[in-house]
Symmetry: C2
Subunit: 413 residues, 2 copies
């Protein structure tokens, strides 16, 4: 990929390496991506990104979730600018905080109230704290391998983490009602809550929607002892169903954690909850210097306003279906076996016989060279700005990328 | 205070009470302030705020820290708007992230590198995780009563917190070298770090600058076993000394946590560290959906740019001194005994014989009615937008407020 001439990106990486440990940190580190992917970005518009070397990409990561309606969505930007001219970080919230809480309560099936934070991790951590406060118990059930944030109690890494940080966490297998029941039994009458992702979107493995049986078992395990069912909607929230990802299953959580897409890229997170946990939520001490910032609240009000007019989730599904079908058809044409899993609006493409992700890497690198930004191992995201023409453009790149995978297989054989 | 007619504020509080537990949460909850203080704000400019009922305040809380240069500072706003037109939350950082890290490393005495987060709590938690990763040890020393954030390991509340969350934290008394040494001895060769605030700014008690003896003892306790000295600069950072609050003591930390004022109100936090912890910082997994947001980074670059031109800290000191001297003089005139403590640019006014804060409350309410927003128990903050005229205005209100306190004493006597 040396011919791509990432000269400014390379020089920024060199500068960064001097002043940032490892040159970057966390999930946006380009070392988690195939070679050739840019680390630094110059511009974003709709569903397109420009890197610092001026190359443009049709983007399928959507900032790893936050970009729901398209970068610089006019209604969201107008609301944010209007609020910014008035004030953002003040001695207390603006009216937008109340409006956003009202909208969430009115929109989300289980929500009797809402509280706001900045990070998805703030929201999941707050849910756990509220569940413990509301039940007076300690044990938390979480799915093995699920991502719920990047602090010691839930980080995917144990570097710098002590065993006490996870002392009261018991693990079950997603979509395995029996393992959940066994963990609940082990927690016994010390069970404070069951934490579960809206659907299984663990890195590097097929995505799985929850079965009705599993969702009902999670609900029943909580109801049996008065524990809180905590739904982690940080990643999936607002893309699957506006009222909540488990509404279609007829299972409502007691608490839910939201972030990423909630304000179309403005930094915001939220916890929603049911009446019985309102008092506990008012008793825990959770706060942050910027949590009442009015600009993200105004952006959230505008984002939810657009979503509530309807059609966005349907559009994401239609475009996701077109992408999935198109890639399946192209894969068949090229004789490539691959698996697409999870909700179509949050695509994941994994190749058969690809334990080292060599096929996925070649697929993504070839698409990237044609201006389409896919991810080989992490679920991707669609935005409202992805239309028919963009999906056709992506499918053309995917076709070429699958041809490259097929050709590499020929060469290897 | 009923005559103040907070009618819109009251109606917003009623709406909030239905959809937000307790109507509000955290440190910005108006129930932590005397009656009459507004909960909701409509507008901010320089060092002034307008509440939703149209009343304006000369503000001495500065959004509890973030407002360092004044709301809508033209250079900061121009930089933020320029970046916002390009892109904010993208698939990776913008060049501004590197620029800001370079500026921090160039500005802050101990800093060999920087990493970014959103909340002050993110920064302190990241410091602790890096210290544990870098030392392979677990114990952390913290000052009893110090505020380092609002998650279970450090929250001022234990509601929803388990004892394991604080299993490895040992407490010492601020400015008490002996108690620190005793705690370090107890931690023994499991000591990962010593966490200490830039100065003592615990709620409801006199502020204390660290003594050189104490700072040196903290440094020595770390050096003796190779632990990390972690300075919490979240509240004091950029107001006392640009290169770091302990530079004047000749004591450099290994890690420091920054937030609040770093981007003049835009949501951002940072950790800075020394070379020996660079590898550990690259190994821990810490991340957030909005941590690479380019607009707050650009605002941070502009804020640091203004600060590095010099004069702001000196201005804050001059205005803080004028305020402190003026209040002392007014108190003497009215025969009121009060204590002003800590750095002049972060004022705290406590009254003698005021265990129930009745005097402080009356003082603040009277000033508020005259359009000056003080706090009776928490340290306050000055901004670069507070000039001579504003301090004179504040002193006029303070004079009337002290007269009210004197008059109430007469009545009681």
């Amino acid at each position: 990929m040396a011919e791509m001439k990432n000269s400014i990106d390379t020089s920024l990486r060199e500068r960064a390496l001097r002043v940032v440990p490892g040159g970057m940190w966390g999930h946006l580190h380009a070392n988690r991506l195939p070679e050739g992917y840019p680390q630094f970005f110059a511009r974003a518009e709709g569903c397109r990104l420009w890197d610092v070397d001026g190359r443009s990409y049709l983007d399928f990561m959507c900032s790893w979730g936050p970009n729901l309606l398209g970068h610089h969505h006019p209604e969201v930007e107008a609301a944010a600018e209007r609020q910014a001219r008035l004030g953002d970080c003040m001695n207390g919230p603006a009216e937008a905080m109340v409006e956003l809480a009202e909208l969430l309560v009115d929109t989300i099936g289980h929500a009797d109230w809402a509280q706001f934070q900045k990070n998805g991790t703030d929201a999941t951590t707050t849910c756990v704290t509220i569940a413990r406060a509301g039940t007076g118990r300690r044990k938390l059930l979480a799915a093995r391998g699920a991502y719920h944030g990047a602090v010691p109690w839930c980080s995917p890494s144990v570097v710098g983490v002590t065993s006490e940080d996870r002392a009261h966490i018991l693990y079950y297998e997603f979509n395995d009602a029996e393992s959940l029941s066994a963990a609940a039994k082990e927690a016994g009458d010390d069970l404070a809550g069951v934490l579960v992702s809206a659907y299984r979107h663990d890195l590097s493995r097929d995505q799985e929607l929850p079965t009705a049986e599993f969702a009902l078992a999670a609900r029943a395990a909580c109801d049996a002892v008065g524990a809180a069912l905590i739904l982690d909607e940080v990643r999936a929230g607002f893309r699957l169903a506006l009222a909540g990802s488990w509404e279609r299953l007829g299972v409502r959580p007691d608490l839910a954690a939201w972030s990423k897409a909630i304000a179309n890229g403005y930094p915001l997170a939220a916890v929603t909850g049911r009446e019985w946990l309102r008092k506990a939520a008012s008793q825990v001490f959770v706060t942050g210097s910027f949590w009442c910032g009015a600009v993200p609240m105004a952006a959230g009000v505008a984002t939810l306003g657009v979503m509530r007019r309807g059609g966005v989730v349907e559009h994401l599904e239609a475009m996701g279906t077109k992408l999935r079908n198109g890639i399946d058809a192209a894969a068949a044409r090229h004789g490539i076996r691959l698996r697409q899993s999870g909700p179509v609006q949050m695509p994941l493409i994994l190749f058969e016989d690809d334990a080292d992700f060599a096929k996925g890497t070649l697929f993504c690198q070839t698409a990237l060279a044609r201006g389409v930004y896919f991810h080989p191992r992490h679920n991707m995201f669609l935005s409202a700005a992805h239309g028919e023409a963009e999906i056709d453009e992506a499918l053309a790149a995917a076709d070429a990328a699958l041809a490259a995978v097929a050709s590499a297989r020929q060469t290897a054989a």
